[in-house]
Symmetry: C2
Subunit: 395 residues, 2 copies
C-alpha cells in the first residue's frame, strides 16, 4: 500500500547502523569500558578549536539575517569562491565560485550528481568492496549498480581491464572513493590515468560519456606523506563530492560541496542542473551557518596524528596476533581477512564484545571492516579480546 521499495528497505535496515545500536546495547549491559566497538566511522576527535571560535564569532558579530536567511541554492557566492581558491592553491586548478555547489554533506552531493546524470536504466559502476549506500543513491534516480571487484592481488585497487569489460552503452558513471572506505587504500595517480584512458576509449567506442563521481570525504586523511591525487587532474569528466564530516569532525552538520569542472562534457549544463536538483530534491541549500563556518576554517584540519597513532597501534596489534590485513594508507578503516567463515567470525567477535562490520556489507565477503576512529585506550583494551578471538580461530 505504501511505497513497496521503502517497505522492503525499512525491514532491511543498515547493517552498520544496526551494529551501532548493538554497541550501545552491549555497553549498557557490560559497561562501555568492556565493549570494543569498531563498527562506525564517526570521527572520534573533536573539531579543531577554530570551528567553535568561528561559530561564536559569526553568531556574535554577524548579521543574523545573512547568517540564517536563504543563501542562493548553490550556496553563498563568497563561500564557494573561498572553496575554489583553496582548491586552486592546493591543486593548481583554476576553479571559481561557478564550479562549486555547496551541499548537504557528501551524501547530498552524490545524490545531486546522480540526479543530474542518470536516466532510468542507466548503469553506474561501483568497485567492490564499496559503501553500500551507493546502491540506494543510484536507485533513487532509476539507475542500476554494476559491481566490479577491486583487484585483490593488487591490494584492492580498481581493476582497469575488468572495469573496461563491464562498460556497456548504458554506463553513465563510475563511483570512486579515494582514500577508500572500507579498505583504507589510496589509489595512485598512474592507475587513475590508465583507468581514465580506458573509460574514454570505451566512451568513444559507444559514442557515450562515462562520468567519474569521486566521493572524497577522506581526502585529507592520508598517512606517511602519501599523496592523494586530485582526481579531476587524473581523470576526464570527473565530478568531485567532498564533505567536512571527517576533515573537521562535523558529520552531524551535513556540510560538503560538489566540484563541477568547466571542462567536463556538458559541464555548464550539469552545474545549472545541480543547482536545481539541490533545490527540488529537498535539500534547498547547504546549512547556512555551517557554510560560513567551513569557509572561515578552510585551512584547518583535524589532527591526523591522532588517527595515525591508532592506525599503528591496531595494525601492529592485529598483525602480531596473526590477522592478515594490508597496512592502510588513508581514511580510518582497516580491512581484515577473516581467518574463518565471515559470519561465524563476526559472531565470535561479538561474543568477545568486539563489534565490526562484515565485508559482505560492502559486497566482499571474507573480510571485516574495523573503523579505528576510536579512542587509543579502547584499542589497547581490545587487544586482549582480539587475542582470545585469534586463539578461538586457530591463529
Amino acid at each position: 500500500m505504501i511505497s513497496e521499495r521503502m517497505t522492503r528497505l525499512a525491514s532491511g535496515g543498515s547493517a552498520i547502523r544496526a551494529m551501532f545500536e548493538e554497541g550501545k546495547r552491549l555497553a549498557a549491559q557490560y559497561g562501555p569500558e568492556n565493549v570494543y566497538d569498531f563498527s562506525i566511522g564517526n570521527p572520534y576527535f573533536a573539531p579543531p578549536q577554530a570551528v567553535s571560535d568561528a561559530i561564536v564569532d559569526i553568531i556574535t558579530n554577524g548579521d543574523p539575517m545573512s547568517v540564517h536567511g536563504y543563501p542562493a541554492n548553490a550556496g553563498f557566492p563568497s563561500v564557494r569562491e573561498t572553496v575554489a581558491q583553496s582548491l586552486n592553491r592546493r591543486f593548481g586548478t583554476s576553479y571559481d565560485s561557478g564550479n562549486i555547489l555547496m551541499t548537504v554533506g557528501a551524501a547530498g552531493g552524490l545524490n545531486v550528481a546522480l540526479c543530474c546524470l542518470l536516466n532510468p536504466g542507466d548503469e553506474v559502476i561501483c568497485i567492490s568492496p564499496y559503501f553500500f549506500e551507493y546502491n540506494n543513491y543510484v536507485a533513487n534516480y532509476g539507475g542500476r549498480v554494476v559491481v566490479v571487484p577491486a583487484s585483490e592481488a593488487g591490494g584492492f585497487v580498481p581493476d582497469v581491464d575488468a572495469i573496461a569489460a563491464a562498460v556497456t552503452p548504458r554506463t553513465k558513471a563510475i563511483i570512486l572513493n579515494n582514500p577508500n572506505n572500507p579498505t583504507g587504500v589510496v589509489y595512485p595517480a598512474g592507475l587513475l590515468r590508465r583507468l581514465s584512458d580506458a573509460l574514454l576509449a570505451k566512451g568513444e567506442e559507444y559514442g557515450t560519456v562515462i562520468y567519474v563521481i569521486s566521493d572524497e570525504p577522506y581526502r585529507e586523511l592520508a598517512y606517511d606523506g602519501v599523496e592523494v591525487p586530485w582526481m579531476p587532474g587524473c581523470m576526464a569528466n570527473c565530478i568531485v563530492g567532498y564533505s567536512w564530516s571527517k576533515s573537521l569532525s562535523l558529520p552531524g552538520e551535513r556540510i560538503g560541496y560538489l566540484v563541477i569542472p568547466d571542462d567536463i562534457a556538458e559541464g555548464q549544463l550539469i552545474y545549472d542542473a545541480a543547482v536545481v536538483a539541490n533545490r527540488m530534491l529537498g535539500f534547498v541549500n547547504a546549512p547556512s551557518l555551517m557554510q560560513l563556518t567551513v569557509a572561515r576554517c578552510i585551512d584547518c584540519y583535524t589532527d591526523i596524528a591522532l588517527y595515525d597513532a591508532n592506525r599503528k597501534l591496531l595494525y601492529n596489534g592485529l598483525h602480531e596476533l596473526g590477522f592478515e590485513c594490508a597496512y592502510p594508507a588513508g581514511a580510518f578503516y582497516m580491512w581484515v581477512k577473516t581467518p574463518i567463515d565471515e559470519s561465524e567470525f563476526v559472531a565470535r567477535a561479538k561474543s568477545y564484545n568486539i563489534l565490526l562490520v562484515p565485508g559482505s556489507s560492502f559486497g566482499t565477503p571474507g573480510y571485516v571492516r574495523l573503523a579505528y576512529c576510536v579512542s587509543g585506550d579502547m584499542i589497547k583494551r581490545s587487544l586482549g579480546a582480539f587475542a582470545r578471538l585469534a586463539a578461538d580461530c586457530g591463529l
Copy 2:
C-alpha cells in the same frame, strides 16, 4: 545524454527565484531604496535573541563530539522528545520521540514523506493555487500531481466536493498547506473535518487509504487570534511537516520535523521507512547543532506583531487604491486579483520597480502573490509606485 528531466528543469528554473535575482539586478541599477521586491518569502525579521544565545551556549559549554557528531538518523532522541512534549502541551496530543523525525527543513520532510508513501503512478492531490515545488517533490518518487482548484467563491478554501470527485483508486495523498502560501488563508477546523470524512469515504469505496500531508511552515503565523487547527486532530491519516524557517527565521539552516502519529494507517511502518528514507535520500540527519538549538528555543517565536503591522499597512494601502484582495489571516502573503491580464500586470508592475510573483506560478492565473515579509519602510515607499500602477490599470 545527461538526465533528460534535469536538462528540462535546468532550462526552466524557478519563477520565484528568477524574480529574486531580477530584484537584485534592479536594486543595483536604481538603488535598493527604489525597488519594491515582494517576490520571495525570506523572513525579514531576525531570529529571536534566544537562538543566538542557545548556539553560543551549546558551542561554549557543550561536548563538541555530541554537538557535531552523527546523531541517530531520526534525530537526537532528546530533541524529538522535546518536540513531542511541546506539541502535547499545545494540542493535547500524546506523542513521544517515536512519532517525531527531525528533517532537513520542511522540504526535506515532505520528500521523506512522499518517498515513503508513493509507488510509481500514484496520484497526489494539490489544491491550487499551491507551491509549485510540490510538482517536483511528487515527481521525485514517480507520482503524479492532480490539481483541484480551491473554491474561489469560498475564499480559496479546499472544495470538498471537487476533491472527492478527483479521488481515484490511485490517489495516495493530498498535500494541504495551512496557513496557506500563497493566499494567506487559514483553513477552519470544520471544513477540514468534512474533508477528512470525504476522503475516508472515498478510501472505503476504493479499498485504499488517502494520506494527508500537512505542510505547516506557517503554523505560528496567524493574526487576530485566528486559531490554526492541529491538522491530525481534524483529519485522519495525517502526517505533519514542519519547519522553523519562518517561526524562528532560520530558512538557511534547513531544520524541521515530521510528525507521524501512531494512529494513522501503517503508522509504525511509515515511521521506520521515514528513518531509512532520511538516510538514503542523502539527508542522513537534520543538521545537529540546529537540532539542539531549536530544542532550546522550543517556546520561542519570531514576533508576529511585526508581520501583522506589515499586513495591515499593505492591505489598507492596496485596498484604498482599488486592488481586490482578501485580508490574509495567516502566513505573510497577500493574494491580489490582477485588474488586467496577469502577465501584462506583472510587466507593468516591474516597470514601476515592483516585483511580485504571477499567480500562474502557483497554478492560478489572474492573481499575483505579494510577500510582505519585508521592511515596513519599503511598503510605505512602495505605495506611490502602486498608486501609479493602479492608475495605469484604470483603477
